[in-house]
């Protein structure tokens, strides 16, 4: 009897092991497909022009070179400028948005606020309906005159309905009404209550929203593309994009390409490795940082899926 059992158990264990190995191999393969394209960009940025000319894009160039990065150093003025813009709008935008959204989320969390329902709807409705690209463009340029200013690069992103809802849910789950009442009995005024008591307690929730903001603002390229002409105001993402569109202009306009202006533009365009180097500079900060904050991103998702 026991012999039969142990043989059966051995077979069971073997079967389980095969499943596990198969699963591991499949997931490993999948993981590799996530890594390779990104690794490719790093490798191209470190490939020599020779290698790219002869072998094309490969993970194993014939010749490694820092030429791409040297080129970037040569354009350092524009690069530093754009880097400054990107950092500025990311930092300023994150700090401001966290303050703005933290405050309004607190107001709609307060069940005793007289206009709670109306304000919630006011915020929430923006998730259902939007003016659209063209009306937004006309308003931003003709009415608000934000065209070609640094403000347009972060102001529109300061209040995001979805994140306000996440914050409100966070407050509801983590700040008991009794705390508010007790503070009021102790004589705390509303503003004091929020900044001195509620805000410090809600830092984990605030941190989650802050991280979302950082990624959003750092990766934002559309507003710069649409509204910015002044090269001093180009964020990094838009700079990278504009290099490509300059290349497009040259390749699609043969007359322009052979004109003196066109030739000058062509001479100033960076080689493949330099463009990839710029891509590396842009994506590395976020890629290296996000694993450390992963649990915040996950927390934000799980809170967001619970209706507060």
């Amino acid at each position: 009897m026991s012999k039969g059992n142990s043989i059966r158990n051995k077979n069971k264990i073997n079967r389980i092991k095969f499943h596990d190995i198969l699963l591991f191999v499949v997931l490993l393969g999948l993981t590799i497909t996530f890594i390779i394209p990104v690794a490719l960009i790093y490798v191209i940025s470190l490939s020599s022009n020779e290698s790219i000319r002869n072998l094309g894009y490969t993970l194993f160039p014939s010749e490694w070179s820092l030429d791409g990065y040297r080129y970037l150093m040569g354009t350092s003025e524009q690069l530093i400028n754009s880097a400054f813009i990107s950092v500025f709008i990311t930092v300023a935008g994150t700090i401001l948005s966290v303050i703005v959204m933290g405050m309004v989320a607190y107001v709609i969390y307060r069940k005793d606020f007289k206009y709670r329902v109306q304000l919630s709807f006011f915020i929430f409705f923006t998730m259902l309906f939007s003016g659209g690209m063209v009306p937004s463009y006309i308003i931003n340029t003709r009415l608000l005159h934000l065209n070609d200013t640094i403000l347009i690069l972060f102001l529109p992103f300061l209040c995001r309905a979805w994140h306000v809802i996440i914050l409100r849910t966070y407050y509801t789950q983590n700040i008991p009404d009794s705390l508010i009442e007790a503070a009021k009995i102790d004589g705390a005024r509303e503003l004091e209550l929020y900044f001195k008591i509620v805000f410090p307690i809600s830092l984990p929730g605030i941190a989650t929203i802050a991280l979302y903001s950082v990624v959003l603002l750092w990766n934002e390229w559309f507003t710069g593309l649409l509204y910015i002409n002044n090269s001093k105001l180009l964020p990094l993402q838009v700079l990278l994009n504009s290099i490509q569109s300059d290349l497009d202009v040259l390749s699609q306009n043969p007359e322009f390409a052979t004109s003196p202006d066109g030739i000058e533009m062509a001479m100033n365009l960076p080689a493949d490795s330099a463009r990839m180097a710029l891509a590396v500079v842009i994506m590395t900060p976020v890629l290296f940082a996000y694993p450390f904050f992963q649990r915040y991103f996950i927390k934000g998702l799980t809170i967001g899926s619970v209706k507060g």
Binding site: F24, I41, Y57, M103, G132
Partner: protein, 302 residues
Amino acid sequence: MQFIKEIKKNWELILLALPAIILLILFKYLPMAGIIIAFEDYQYSKGLFLSPWSGLKNFEFLFATNIAWNIIKLTLGYNIVFILLGVILPVALAIAFNELKGTKTSKVFQTISIMPHFLSWVIMSYVGLSLFNNNGFLNTILNLFGADSIDWYSKANYWPWILILTHVWKTIGFNSIIYLASICGIPVEFYEAAKLDGASRWQQIRYIMLPHLKLMMIITTIMALGRIFNSDFGLFYQMPMNQGQLYPVTQTIDVYVFNALRSMRNINMSAAASVFQSVVGFITILIANGIIRKIDSESALF
């Protein structure tokens, strides 16, 4: 009078909410009012309120052309594929992660799987370039095996696959997180009871996990259907690096509106398309939310 009194009583809370209110008015509600531009023959010199009224003419023009139907077809077509894949694949991935023995490996794989989420679309366009260009990685490998290079990058017929693949690559990891979290919340007793009844692992997945996830999958699908007239502008504009010859397979509503806006010649058509998208999108979201409310009122947006 009563209203003013209320404001005075609550002034501190209102003050806290004020910056957000102002920002939303400026950047969300004013553009809503700006919708009238689609009903005007907009002229820059006259501005929003003085341009001549043209009623539905812009929309007539737009739908008289083939373009309108093409961009709508493209947008809807891609979205249907994305919705199907977007609910099946992340769930499959979440289940796979959960089955993996060894939480450390699972965590590493999961962390890597969400990496594409953090790449901007500009960076993604360079990923596409490095893979699919004439001298790109795929062709390098083909050449290694003696095959000819394939012109993936500038031929329109490859791009639907490229775009779908890219979309899945970028979203599968991040979208699986919520399903994985849900799976982890299933009490162990369910599995133990099933095991006692002789259920295999596959059966356990099918009869315990999937029903548990079903609601979330349905909600996600319906919400995505609510946004079926919207496309990911970054995907359709940046990935192809705005190559004109690819427009028949890459120009969704958003890309069309953007291109028409930038060329400035077509601001009326562009406005009509943009407003069409907003209004129809609003209706579909209301319908979607209504359906969700019938299924499970707690999951509805409102």
